[in-house]
C-alpha cells in the first residue's frame, strides 16, 4: 500500500510493473486497467476464480513503480502477488 513510516493508505496500492525501470517507462501504463485474480472456495458464475478491477492512477517515484486504485482495496495477502495489466 501507499504508506509513510507509520501510516498506510489502503485505498492506493503500489504496483511494480515488469521490466519498467523508470517513470518514463511507466508512462505507457498510466490509465491502464488492472486485474487482481484470486481463487475462492465457492463457485460464483461457474468458476472459483474471482477478479478485482482497478486502474493505474499515477507513477510513484522515479523507478517505475506505479500507484493504482482498485474498486475495492486490495487485500494484504495480495502483496507480492501477481496482478494483470490490461492493454
Amino acid at each position: 500500500y501507499k504508506r509513510a513510516r507509520m501510516n498506510q493508505t489502503n485505498h492506493t496500492s503500489l504496483i511494480k510493473l515488469e521490466n519498467v525501470a523508470d517513470a518514463d517507462g511507466a508512462k505507457f501504463y498510466l490509465g491502464k486497467k488492472l486485474c487482481y485474480v484470486y481463487k475462492a472456495k465457492t463457485k460464483k458464475k461457474g468458476t472459483v476464480y474471482r477478479t478485482s478491477w482497478g486502474k493505474v492512477t499515477r507513477s510513484h517515484g522515479t523507478s517505475g513503480v506505479v500507484r493504482a486504485k482498485f474498486k475495492n482495496n486490495l487485500p494484504p495477502c495480495s502483496m507480492g502477488g501477481k496482478i494483470r495489466c490490461m492493454l
Binding site: L17, E18, N19, V20, G25, A26, K27, F28, Y29, M86, L87
Partner: protein, 215 residues
C-alpha cells in the same frame, strides 16, 4: 431534488443576478460587479408542482479529440472485444468520435465495425486509402442496434424461458463490406507481406514489454 422554475416574486434571473425593471436606472447607476450580463424576462406562469428536470449531461460540447497516431489508413491493433488481438485498418473517424474500421474482412475476418480509440493501439503502418470508397450511408446510425420491442409475455412464455433469437445480419452489410474492401485489398496487395501482417495476431510473449515497443 430537480431544478424548478423560480417563484414569481423573488425577481431573480436564471443566472442568479438581480433583474432590473425598465426605468432607466441602469443607465445612470454606477457599474457594480454584481450587474448581470443579460436582462431576462420571467414567465408569469410556472407549474404548481415541482417538476424535476433532467440535467441533460449527455451532450458532447466539443468533438472528441482523436490521437494524432490514428489517421485514415493506419493499421491498428484491436486490443479487446470480439476481435481482440487482430489488426485492422482505420477507414475514418465517425461523427460520434468512434473509428470506422475494417479488417478487411477477406483478409482477417474483421468486418466494417466501430471501435473506440481507447480499445486500439495505433501502429505506424499506413495504407493508402484514397481509393477506398466508403458508402455515404455508413455512419453511426448504420451501426445502431434496433430497439427491442418489449412484448408482454403470456403465462406460457414466462415458464418457457428466454428464447434466443438468431441474430441476423442487417441487409446490405455484405454489399457495403465488399465495396469498401475492394479498394482496401488493392492497396494492401501492393505492399509485400502486408496481407500476412494483417492476418497475424498481436500477442505478447515472455520478454516482450509494450512500453519498450515501438508500435
Amino acid at each position: 431534488g430537480g431544478r424548478c422554475a423560480p417563484p414569481f416574486f423573488t425577481q431573480r434571473s436564471r443566472s442568479g443576478g438581480l433583474l432590473y425593471t425598465s426605468g432607466g436606472d441602469n443607465q445612470g447607476a454606477s457599474m457594480t460587479k454584481s450587474q448581470p450580463k443579460k436582462v431576462e424576462k420571467l414567465n408569469r406562469f410556472y407549474p404548481a408542482d415541482d417538476v424535476p428536470h433532467r440535467l441533460h449531461r449527455n451532450k458532447r460540447l466539443r468533438p472528441r479529440k482523436i490521437r494524432a497516431s490514428i489517421t485514415p489508413g493506419a493499421v491498428v491493433i484491436l486490443v479487446a472485444g470480439r476481435f481482440g488481438g487482430k489488426r485492422a485498418v482505420v477507414l475514418k473517424v465517425l461523427d460520434s468520435g468512434l473509428l470506422l474500421v475494417s479488417g478487411p474482412f477477406q483478409v482477417n475476418g474483421v468486418p466494417l465495425r466501430r471501435v473506440d480509440q481507447r480499445y486500439v493501439i495505433a501502429t505506424k503502418t499506413r495504407i493508402d486509402v484514397s481509393n477506398v470508397k466508403i458508402p455515404d450511408h455508413v455512419n453511426d446510425s448504420y451501426f445502431q442496434k434496433p430497439k427491442k420491442e418489449r412484448k408482454a409475455k403470456t403465462e406460457g412464455e414466462f415458464f418457457e424461458g428466454e428464447k434466443k433469437e438468431k441474430k441476423e445480419l442487417p441487409a446490405g452489410r455484405k454489399e457495403d463490406q465488399t465495396v469498401v474492401d475492394q479498394g482496401l485489398v488493392q492497396a494492401i496487395n501492393g505492399t509485400p507481406q502486408l496481407a500476412d501482417y494483417l492476418k497475424s495476431h498481436f500477442s505478447l510473449q515472455n520478454g516482450q514489454y509494450p512500453h519498450a515497443m515501438v508500435f
